[in-house]
């Protein structure tokens, strides 16, 4: 469907060949700049130790090996807390944090964008302002709060603050403003749908690209989270933290460090690819309405 639309688009709108060429060149140059370091990360992880310390450093591997990955798994197996526990911790907090945030922030964003009630501007302003206040300073008061709630050293201390992060609400509100058509909501309400139903059945599908973006953003933030000041028991600590500990072992762990880097980045990238393919599907189906 999307293909057909593009073609139709070409007929209507003038696109100069020079402009197309210029844009392609800029994209390729920028793309190379973005891609080369990422490529180097992967290459480094496949180099045997002697190639890692070779002069001059090379942009290719002569004898690619998975030894670094095997080393990393060996190192994982000798950790004091079973390594699966760290992975479990990070997966749990990433998923629970992301989906809780998605639900609460979308619901609040819907009400703020689409229902006129006293206080909504004030609430939105507060969220917007809070984006600009530094988290290091508020960490101390938050710590006191956590200890008062008895949440220190538990998953709650990581998951619940993620639910009310300002960014997701702000993003969802901006998209609800542009992408959700008021007249559609109005007719749903006239048909007797309550606000919750209107929100879930009508508005949410219209802002699918927004909440897929939110999922990617929130997930990668939680996934990459290192040591938290609220957690001190080893069995609640994160995957990223544990990897960091393993790699603090110096030069002889350089290879394993490269492998860890690749494994750490593979998961958010996978989440991204899955949700991107969803965005493309949305595009295809929205094209049918034309």
């Amino acid at each position: 469907m999307a293909k057909l639309r593009t073609r139709k688009h070409k007929v209507v709108l003038a696109r100069s060949a020079g402009g197309d060429a210029g844009i392609s060149i800029i994209l390729i140059l920028l793309g190379v700049f973005m891609f080369l370091p990422m490529y180097y990360v992967v290459i480094q992880s496949l180099k045997p130790l002697d190639e890692l310390w070779m002069y001059p450093p090379r942009f290719y591997v002569m004898a690619p090996t998975f030894k670094n990955y095997r080393d990393l798994f060996t190192l994982m197996n000798i950790s004091w807390v079973p390594f699966s526990r760290y992975i479990f911790n990070t997966v749990l907090t990433s998923i629970a944090g992301t989906f809780g945030h998605l639900l609460l922030a979308s619901m609040a964003a819907y009400a703020l964008a689409k229902i006129k009630f006293p206080g909504r501007d004030l609430m939105f302003q507060a969220v917007q302002m809070s984006l600009m206040f530094n988290a290091t300073v508020t960490a101390i008061t938050q710590f006191i709060l956590m200890s008062a709630l008895g949440w220190l050293d538990s998953y709650l201390a990581i998951i619940v603050p993620a639910w009310c992060s300002s960014l997701g609400l702000y993003l969802m509100k901006q998209f609800m403003d542009t992408n959700v058509n008021d007249s559609v909501l109005e007719s749903a309400r006239l048909d007797g749908a309550g606000e919750f139903k209107t929100f879930w059945v009508i508005a949410m599908p219209m802002v699918k690209p927004a909440w897929l973006t939110l999922i990617i953003y929130s997930f990668q933030g939680l996934w990459n989270a290192g040591a938290s000041m609220y957690i001190y028991s080893e069995q609640f600590k994160s995957f990223n933290y544990a990897i960091g500990q393993i790699l603090a072992g110096g030069i002889k762990r350089q290879g394993a460090a490269g492998a860890a880097q690749v494994i750490m980045m593979l998961v958010p990238i996978t989440v991204f690819v899955i949700s991107q393919s969803n965005i493309i599907e949305t595009m295809g189906s929205s094209g049918m309405k034309d």
Binding site: I115, M129, M132, T141, W163, C164, A210, W223
Partner: protein, 315 residues
């Protein structure tokens, strides 16, 4: 003005007072409060209360050990008149924000816009290439390897081979290179959430607008951009702007990771570092809260400026 208001009130809600009217509106929209409640209660607890407390603490000499005394503006006076490092930090932060903020913003938007008309499969691949650096956590540490201080570093090796330099340059320990390199690295990671928001925003634009524009005499893609695309995605542009502002004024993490903390001779010391120095290492919470308040005000100022520019688009 007053008569207009009164007339409006009479028209809208008969002879009710403003307060009665508000209460009625609140009762009518109780569902809305129910919908925002879960988020807002947590938000108030974990964000509003700590922020307000921090602003209050900025007027005290709280240091986590002694009972805090209220010192009014003493912290603010010290910060501006008696703290040379803060002035360096301000200078660096502004240099950084002025370069990286607009550049990353424009780059995110232009790339999103350029790739918008590509076929979906190719577009997804290109998006991945551009977005991967910012999603992959601490992957920017690779720049430390590329610009390592010994000849195993890729940059040094090339320069040595070509005979441009005689001995290796310690890039991240050299005042001349730290700031520019950190700027490059942060541009490398800057196609982040706002980039995705732009892509999503561009896809949400109603295509009949473009066709109508073509009929109305839009001649090329730049006119289309200015008169149709930009005005249609103001909320996303605003979102991107906030991300650029908070990202560029709150910059510091990359410098710490690559050049250490503090950087050589404070050459890349930012407001963020100054704040972490006092808050996280010296436990002078009062003073670091003062820095946070100043940073907050700077960002709000930048935000108002950007808001004004964006509201003028397409007019």
């Amino acid at each position: 003005m007053a008569t207009k208001k009164a007339a409006k009130r009479a028209k809208n809600h008969g002879d009710m007072t403003m307060l009665q009217w508000k209460l009625k509106e609140m009762r009518q929209n109780w569902v809305a409060y129910l919908m925002v409640a879960p988020y807002m209660i947590l938000f108030a607890l974990f964000t509003i209360v700590p922020v307000v407390l921090s602003i209050f603490i900025s007027f005290t000499d709280f240091n986590m050990l002694e009972t805090p005394n209220i010192v009014w503006l003493k912290n603010y006076v010290t910060l501006f008149f008696d703290d040379d490092v803060f002035l360096i930090a301000c200078k660096n932060t502004f240099i950084f924000a002025v370069i990286v903020g607009p550049t990353s913003y424009l780059m995110s938007f232009l790339v999103a816009w350029f790739i918008n008309e590509l076929p979906p499969k190719i577009r997804a691949l290109v998006t991945l290439v551009f977005y991967a650096p910012s999603i992959s956590g601490q992957v920017y540490l690779i720049w430390g390897t590329l610009f390592a201080s010994d000849s195993q570093g890729w940059a040094n090796a090339i320069l040595l081979e070509m005979g441009i330099i005689e001995t290796e340059i310690a890039f991240f320990q050299n005042e001349t290179y730290v700031m520019p390199l950190c700027i490059i690295v942060s541009l490398w990671t800057s196609l982040g959430t706002s980039f995705l928001a732009f892509i999503a925003g561009l896809q949400g634009i109603d295509h009949s607008l473009f066709e109508a524009g073509a009929v109305d005499g839009v001649r090329n893609r730049w006119q289309e951009l200015y008169y149709i695309t930009l005005p249609s995605m103001k909320p996303q542009l605003m979102f991107g702007a906030i991300m650029a502002i908070t990202g560029s004024f709150g910059f510091g993490g990359i410098v710490t990771a690559l050049a250490g903390f503090p950087s050589v001779n404070y050459c890349a010391h930012t407001i963020m570092h100054h704040l972490e120095d006092y808050g996280g290492q010296r436990y002078e919470i009062g003073y670091s809260s003062t820095i946070a308040v100043i940073l907050f005000l700077i960002m709000i100022g930048a935000n108002m400026l950007v808001k004004r520019i964006i509201s003028k688009l397409g007019t």
